[in-house]
């Protein structure tokens, strides 16, 4: 009865829980890298350096505009880098999650598979 309980949980609520855990992990990573926010603010000045309207002579205004331009360029570069890192991390996390979900139903079979492989005498690598 215990084995039945364990297996029915493993292939039912347990598997669903694992799927939720993968989803939550991906959502957490997505939130950490805040990719939508990075996209939305891709060309915004970075940390508002010289942001806002500047009053003064043309010379001052041109300098402020240039400062802002540089700030925007820096922002774009930093955000792009983070976005790339975020996307790669998310991709790998998704792969790991999908693999874990695929492996999940096989785990109860591992003792049997282990015995079968052992009996077959096959080893993947030797030193």
């Amino acid at each position: 009865m215990f084995i039945v309980g364990l297996l029915s949980w493993w292939y039912g609520a347990g598997w669903a829980r694992q799927a939720r855990a993968v989803r939550d992990r991906l959502a957490g990573l997505y939130d950490y890298f805040s990719i939508d926010l990075l996209l939305k603010t891709l060309f915004s000045p970075f940390r508002q350096i010289s942001a806002g309207s500047v009053r003064g002579s043309i010379d001052v205004q041109v300098r402020a505009w240039l400062d802002q331009l540089i700030s925007r360029v820096i922002g774009m570069i930093v955000r792009s880098i983070v976005m790339v890192i975020g996307c790669v991390t998310l991709f790998f996390a998704a792969i790991v999650g999908i693999v874990s979900l695929c492996v999940w139903p096989l785990v109860p079979l591992t003792p049997v598979l282990g015995i079968v492989f052992a009996l077959s005498g096959w080893v993947p690598w030797t030193i």
Partner: protein
Amino acid sequence: MGAVDDLVVNYHSQRAAEARFGVQLRGFMAASLPWTALLGALLGVGLLVLGVSIGWVLVGLAGIPLMLHAYYRHHLITLPPSTNSLTDMIAGDVLGRLPRKPSPADIAKVVGEVPSGQFMAVRFGLTSGLLLSMASVDAGTAAAVWQQADNIREKCKLDQISGAVLAVAIVRSFPDYQAVLAQIHIDDEDLDRGILWQQQLMTLLEKYSKPRRTGGIARDWSFGYIPLLTRFGQNISEQISRGTGVLTVDVASHLEAVMQLVETFGSGGRQNVALIGKEGVGKTTIIHAFAARLLDADEILPDSLRFRQVFLLDAAALIAAAPGRGELEGLVTRVLGEAHRAKNIIICLDNAQLFFEEGVGSVDLANVLQPILDAGSLRIILSMDEQRFLQISQRNPGLVNVLNRVNVAPASETETKTVMQEQLILMEVQRHVTYMYQAIKEAYRLGERYVHDLEMPGRALKLLESAASYSESGLVTMNSVQQAIEKTLDVKVSVASSTEDREKLLNMEELIHQRMVNQTRAVSVVSDALRRARAGVRNENRPIGTFLFLGPTGVGKTELSKALADVYFGGEERIIRIDLNEFVRAEDVSRLIRDGAQDPTSLTAQVMKQPFSVVLLDEIEKAAPEVLATLLQLLDEGILRDEKNREVSFRDAIVIATSNAGADRIREYIERGMEVAKFEDAFIDELISSNQFRPEFLNRFDEIVVFRPFTKPELVQVCDLILASVNKTLAVQKVSVEVEPAAKQLLVEQGYDPRLGARPMRRVVQKAVENTVAKQMLSGSVASGDTITITEAQVAQVFGIEAGHMGGDSPVTPPPGV
């Protein structure tokens, strides 16, 4: 879920088997499962690397502990309820410990072993021993306990029958359980509250164990640098992100204020809010709750508010950094400018009065702040005490017009208890103590009564915090809270339990009579009042006792008040004496209730400082009618509001009003040979009909006691008391004085004045005894250890009369009633 279908535990059910397995696995075994899996897998892989195919077996077998680990962690620990059968409703940790056919005693034993049952044991005193003593060993009666448990589960809207539910069910299945609850100072309602509290803490744990989504790495990149703000402010949002912010509790009054904050800052109007409420209502907590809401990615918020950061400006740090005139204004302008440019900052001025008035640690920055508030572009929250807000708005009416006011009301009793139940978890960690529910209840009750400088929930929390210092073996009980208030306010709030206390109360009359003569009825009524109070049988919503003492001067009215203060309240300084002949005009009412900061001698200020005392209202008949009307509420409810509208409690005081009104009538009645008890009612009627007192005023007193004039034999006793006090003074010089009986009689003859009572007696003793002693001591005729005897001749000589003439008179026959 509805009610259960059956009332029998199915020991062989799948769920019961899982629960038992979960119980067996717990602890070391469960913790070692992932390590066993890892070790097996590593060994297997190692063998495979070495070319040994048996390694596959180890790798394969590692899957078993891995599965068990996941099964235990995600299923067996929680074991969610499923159908409506009893077995499926019982919490896993309880179910896994139950024997085949559990009796109520078995259930009680199990309850003592599971965390939710232990919660009830520690917090409420429903220990395993107590439950076992209430539970039957007959398995046939278990159905009643299960039925009771299911009823409780349904009432509290719970999914499971936990250990806490079962603890309460066992108690309620006991026939005389109310008496048991009374012994541990809780009631039926408290038991339900305990179950909900345990559930509330579980929910809280679950909430805080989930990862928080707070905007991520790039959240603030589009906003400005804030070096000045970081230096002079406290970033509440960052504290919340780190999990070190103030623990906020969802109570209705706070949620409403947070909603108003969101609405105001989410709309296009002036971007400022003034949180106005008394100190202790939770204004700072509301700001923290608001900051937490802005940081929560799951909250539905306007985009203009999402992930905005709340900064608390530190007035002291600003003032310290800019001591010179004008420097501070410049610094504040720069700090606020930085916040404005950063575009994601909400500035918070907690205790905002510090920025609007000159004083120690505060500075008037209205000139700088008002234009900013007026423009409404920088988001600012000001929190202020109601009174201070009124004062500032009186000086600066323009300020009120530009602020969006949000009132914060004090928390209700239920809300306060909820706040305490959650907040004390933090206090427990900080102070290394555990609070019992009885302590929470007592903190609310006593906080309401004695803590005046804060509002709820702050006042109860303050008391709960100070009670930690009086914990017993790390447990903060009702007694700890009582001790905290007794030690800090010097009042007695607990029921008399020590032998010394009880002896004193039982012999109160004797103790009082050691320093005053006769007036047995008066002594008896005040003693009874004190005994009622300390036995816990009095009405707690009134003063301990309210008495009106009527009688001529010098008969012991004030002396009894002093004796009471000395004997029971611990010293004559425990008397708060107000001479009402100084309150003869209507406008004198304000002097009576003046704020302690302005007048420490006002009645309210003195009682606030020393609530456990005798309040003596002397010569009450001379007070203005308005003053008497003010005192009505005091006599009725034991409450008087001071000029700041704070409730001042007189519920731990004995209020004694004295009056000489009708003194001549009392003498007339006595001279006609009437007993006090016989003419008392008629005399009081006369006082009412002659308009000296209004009936509604006299009705407010617990007892009206008529003091009768002293007789000559009583004056001899008074004389003895005075001589005893002279001897007490002389004891330092190891000298004593003795007065011969005939001399004493002569002293009484000289000191007797029916109009002045015992008053002249002291003067007579001074003249005849103290002066004689002083002369003898100065002449050197008295050595240390000597006893000076005062003879009749000496007294006669002092008063210039012939000895034997007066002293031999027989004393006046005491009137009836003595």
